[in-house]
């Protein structure tokens, strides 16, 4: 039946060619159902005609009811749509002779509505059709009460049936309605000297609609000319209720489970990126390095540290330069405009909010600046301006924005200038403040890092010295003891301790002893037992190293566990090495050892002390202890040991704090990186767009 409707209609409308018609008529003759359908369709068409006719009478009757006199039309202004429209009244463009009644061009228009308005105050009037006119004070050139005559024709069928032309220079217009307005002072027409804002109700807004002026042509028909785009006046909101954050910022905060409700927090976090290092020049400087007063470092070491740091800073700065983010919208700019001062400007509109979301994704703030520098222009004009000066997808997007014909918010030029200045100053101030804070923060970090670096080096030096001294002392004791075993009385000071790499080059003056020295040296170095039979005396020298193993209960719960051996015969301590899952070391049978365990977890220290170690397997269970009580316990040892152990302990305490600080720093940095990624889009990777000005050239 679907196709039949078209065929039948073409047949009834006489649109068929002779051949087609013949074929169709044959079909009709053969197909009873088709014939019935044809009859039905004819009836429907008749019904449409009847309805049209009835409509004519209805109109005529209605017109009689509504008005008994014909209306003289002075001028008609049509708008092809409905929204907020400015227009100027044109007078005497279109006058109809009231006697030409037979001409249905004009006679069926609705009655005019009359309003008396006070010209010295703002007036808002609404017609029966719902068209709203906002008439500012002194809109008309008169000091008296103005009689306003308004006519509206919004129903398309009405417009058409009344023969109101919708032609514009031979092109057909689609109309959303027409209205007419004129003002009189005691019957005398008055001039309009201000703009009247008109709102015409519409079901759907077609952005392509334009406002035309009606001009009567020589044949008496109205020609619609001088089209002007109909812009949508924008509604402003309290700016603090709008969302100017980069679109991915809040979702990222939520994903990181940060409090995205606390406006103060999210604001300050966002604005803190105004001083994000990418904006900063110079990026980093080598600070003065802090050395503790009694630093063990010599000048050469200090110099090399400084040099090393200089290299590090240079490298950092070089890296940062390749990551310049300054094309992006600086949060300081957002902070400057997200201010009540910008209420009642285009900035405080949903439409700007929508654009800003897109602007955030662009690698430049030039586009944002374009809006801020033109607060007194309609949004779509700025959209067009930007579209003209951009290309590709960006151009497309701004053309799309422009097509919505979003209008403006009235801003006086003086205010525009003021706001512009305010914006410039504020964004600069915020940016500088944030940069200062950032620099200060970085300097402080640098200072702390320097301290840590120095302490690290000093610890390394201490360890080296201590191990060297320990070895010397232990070798000396082992040698003395070994010689004693083979019946030689020998003080270790008599022996030149052979530095390993030089040893084989030493001229041998006496046999035997040197051999023993080598055995003892190796045994001491490897902490392994040795047995030496002196070829001269036949006596045997023995050194015994037996392994002790220490396990720490729940070792994995501590951030760090350090096990120290404190031999009675040496002036310092030894750090035990961890092998597999326990701390192991060969104990020299010549010494008696204590073991001290210091473990760190967060800021808490755990302690265990075992005196007179046996060569066996221990499992220690640590207890929390405070710094001072540990230091007190350590006092039982000889003074130089106390000094070394305390220095070690203090260093480890510092190291632990430093580790915590670094951890927090990494966490902070990681967090800020993630946030930065949600705020800035371009990284150093993307193509930097050309600023608007350079594009226009």
């Amino acid at each position: 039946m679907n196709n039949n409707s078209i065929l039948i209609d073409r047949y009834l409308q006489n649109e068929m060619g002779a051949d087609e018609k013949a074929v169709f008529e044959n079909q009709l003759a053969a197909d009873k159902n088709l014939l019935e359908e044809l009859a039905m369709q004819q009836q429907i068409i008749k019904a449409a005609e009847t309805a049209g006719l009835k409509n004519e009478f209805a109109k005529a009757i209605k017109k009689r009811i509504v008005t008994r006199r014909l209306i003289k039309w002075g001028a008609i202004i049509t708008i092809a749509v409905a929204a907020f429209v400015f227009y100027m009244i044109k007078t005497n463009l279109f006058t109809h002779n009231g006697n030409s009644e037979g001409n249905k061009e004009t006679k069926s228009f609705p009655a005019s509505e009359k309003f008396d308005i006070n010209n010295s105050s703002d007036t808002i009037i609404e017609t029966k059709d719902g068209v709203v006119f906002a008439i500012p004070a002194h809109a008309f050139n008169s000091n008296n009460t103005i009689q306003l005559e308004i006519k509206t024709a919004l129903n398309p069928y009405y417009i058409m049936q009344n023969g109101l032309s919708t032609m514009s220079n031979n092109d057909m217009l689609q109309t959303a309605g027409m209205f007419y307005i004129n003002g009189y002072d005691n019957g005398k027409q008055v001039l309009l000297q201000k703009e009247i804002a008109v709102s015409v109700p519409a079901k759907n807004i077609n952005p392509a609609m334009q406002l035309f002026d009606g001009v009567k042509d020589s044949t008496g028909r109205i020609n619609w000319v001088n089209p002007k785009p109909v812009e949508k006046r924008l509604r402003t909101y309290d700016i603090t209720t709008l969302d100017f954050y980069p679109p991915r910022y809040i979702p990222t905060l939520k994903a990181l489970q940060k409090n995205s409700q606390n406006k103060k927090y999210i604001d300050s976090l966002y604005y803190s990126f105004s001083g994000w290092p990418f904006f900063r020049k110079p990026y980093m400087e080598v600070g003065s390095i802090y050395f503790p007063e009694n630093s063990a470092l010599d000048q050469y070491q200090k110099d090399s540290m400084y040099k090393e740091q200089q290299e590090m800073v240079d490298k950092y700065n070089k890296e940062q330069q390749s990551h310049e983010f300054h094309y992006e919208i600086n949060p300081a700019k957002i902070k400057a405009i997200w201010d009540k001062k910008f209420n009642n400007t285009i900035v405080a509109t949903k439409e700007f909010e929508e654009r800003l979301k897109y602007l955030h994704s662009l690698c430049t703030d030039e586009y944002l600046n374009a809006y801020l520098e033109n607060l007194n222009k309609p949004l779509y004009v700025i959209d067009e301006l930007i579209a003209k000066n951009s290309y590709g997808d960006i151009k497309k997007k701004f053309l799309e924005f422009a097509s919505h014909k979003h209008g403006g918010v009235f801003v006086a030029d003086a205010l525009q200038q003021k706001l512009s200045n305010y914006f410039q100053q504020k964004s600069k101030a915020y940016k500088e403040a944030a940069e200062k804070t950032w620099i200060k923060y970085q300097a402080e970090l640098q200072r702390i890092n320097n301290i840590a670096n120095v302490k690290n080096r000093e610890e390394a030096l201490r360890n080296f010295t201590r191990e060297e001294n320990n070895f010397k002392e232990e070798l000396c004791i082992n040698l003395t003891n070994a010689y004693k075993q083979i019946g030689v009385n020998k003080n270790c000071n008599d022996t030149i301790v052979p530095p390993a790499d030089k040893y084989y080059n030493v001229t041998i003056t006496t046999t035997g002893w040197k051999n023993l020295d080598v055995y003892v040296f190796d045994a001491t170095k490897n902490r392994q037992s040795m047995e030496y039979k002196d070829p001269a005396t036949g006596k045997t020298a023995k050194l015994i190293y037996k392994e002790v193993a220490i396990k720490i209960e729940n070792e994995q719960q501590y951030d760090r566990v350090l096990v120290y051996l404190i031999p009675d015969g040496l002036s310092s301590f030894q750090l035990m090495q961890k092998k597999e899952n326990s701390f192991k070391e060969g104990l020299n049978s010549l010494f008696s050892y204590d073991a001290i365990v210091l473990a760190y977890k967060g800021e808490q220290v755990y302690f265990y002390r075992q005196t007179s170690m046996q060569t066996k397997e221990y499992t220690f269970s640590l207890s929390p202890a405070n710094e001072q009580s540990i230091k007190n316990i350590l006092q039982v040892y000889a003074s130089n040991k106390v000094k070394d152990v305390t220095a070690e302990f203090e260093y480890r305490l510092f190291e632990q704090k430093e580790a915590l600080r670094q951890m927090q720093l990494r966490k902070d940095e990681d967090f800020r990186e993630k946030i930065a990624a949600s705020i800035f889009n371009c990284g150093g990777e993307g193509e930097s767009p050309r600023p608007i000005e350079s594009q226009t050239k």
Partner: protein, 179 residues
């Protein structure tokens, strides 16, 4: 205005002019309709229908006025209202006069299923079909008035509206045969 002048206006499609001579009928029609289970709107509606009947008669050339135009229209109104009341199943006319007997009026309903089917259409379809078949507007004009993006869409829409009206018609025929 004489009856002939009125008829002449109607022949020339000058509805407004014709109505100037007929408008004073409305109060008495209102009175009659409201006395017979109708409203003021019904009265206006029936009056319009009566004018349509008159117009069609005139334009088919079968019209020979044997009584005053007002009497004729009154008779048509009564007839139409009777049909309407039958449709509404409230046949109760309190009318002592019998002036309808003086001349013949078609008993065939002027407004049948096709009209009902048409009236069931959406406003836009009605306007489109009226503009096309009654006002003889081009698709271009129709597209502009009814905000279709082009003529082709207006044309396709017209077929759709006809289709819909036919479906309404079939539906209505079905229900009336079931009665």
């Amino acid at each position: 205005m004489t009856d002939n002048e009125i008829i002449e206006h109607l022949k020339n499609n000058k509805y407004g002019k014709a109505l100037n001579g007929l408008y004073n009928l409305l109060p008495s029609i209102k009175k009659y309709i409201s006395a017979n289970n109708g409203t003021a709107d019904d009265a206006q509606d029936v009056f319009q229908d009566a004018l349509v009947v008159l117009y069609k008669k005139i334009h088919t050339g079968e019209f020979n006025l044997t009584v005053p135009l007002k009497t004729y229209l009154h008779a048509v109104v009564k007839n139409l209202w009777l049909q309407e009341l039958r449709r509404r199943k409230k046949i109760l006319i309190t009318d002592s006069e019998n002036d309808t007997a003086d001349f013949a009026i078609d008993e065939e309903p002027v407004f049948g299923n096709a009209e009902a089917a048409f009236n069931l259409l959406g406003e836009k379809c009605k306007q489109l079909l009226m503009l096309f078949y009654f006002s003889k507007k081009s698709f271009r004009e129709i597209a502009a008035v009814l905000a279709f993006s082009d003529e082709k869409i207006a044309k396709n829409q017209k077929y759709r509206c006809i289709q819909k009206a036919k479906e309404n018609y079939l539906q209505l025929s079905k229900t009336s045969t079931h009665e």
